[in-house]
Symmetry: C2
Subunit: 85 residues, 2 copies
């Protein structure tokens, strides 16, 4: 069994309003950082997974994202896998 | 002025307990994904920034992270910058 580290990003879909991001974009102005725009806020998830191969690990992470980590109606996800010692 | 896209990860520090991650790790078992371990959950933030150079953009994003996006007592952050059209 090999061990892999997965780094997953779960973000609100582009066509969906992100009120938290909008609010933080407004706060940037008050901080004197008005050159910062279009903030969108999602989740970053890191996890470890044991699997025989990278393909198996990738399939399992995909299953975890679809069934638990992301709400596919409102969110999209992407991830990277990396083998660890 | 050039436009840059910043992708920021804000994660709970390693030495700090992440109860949300722990809870989700437990849920993985119920989903039949017990090979997934050590889940940690943080924020992923994407934003656009206008700046003269990548160095300026990087300094501004760093300032935004320190002053608003991350709580440095409990969280650490990292980001990547990419120039967009």
């Amino acid at each position: 069994m090999k061990k892999y580290l997965a780094e997953i990003d779960v973000m609100p879909k582009k066509e969906i309003l992100d009120p938290q991001g909008k609010a933080v974009t407004g706060s940037m102005k008050n901080l004197g950082l008005s050159e910062i725009q279009n903030i969108r806020i999602g989740k970053h998830i890191s996890l470890e997974i044991e699997a025989d191969s990278e393909a198996t690990a990738s399939a399992k992470v995909d299953e975890a994202c679809k069934n638990l980590l992301a709400n596919l109606i409102m969110e999209s996800y992407s991830f990277k896998l990396e083998e660890v010692a």
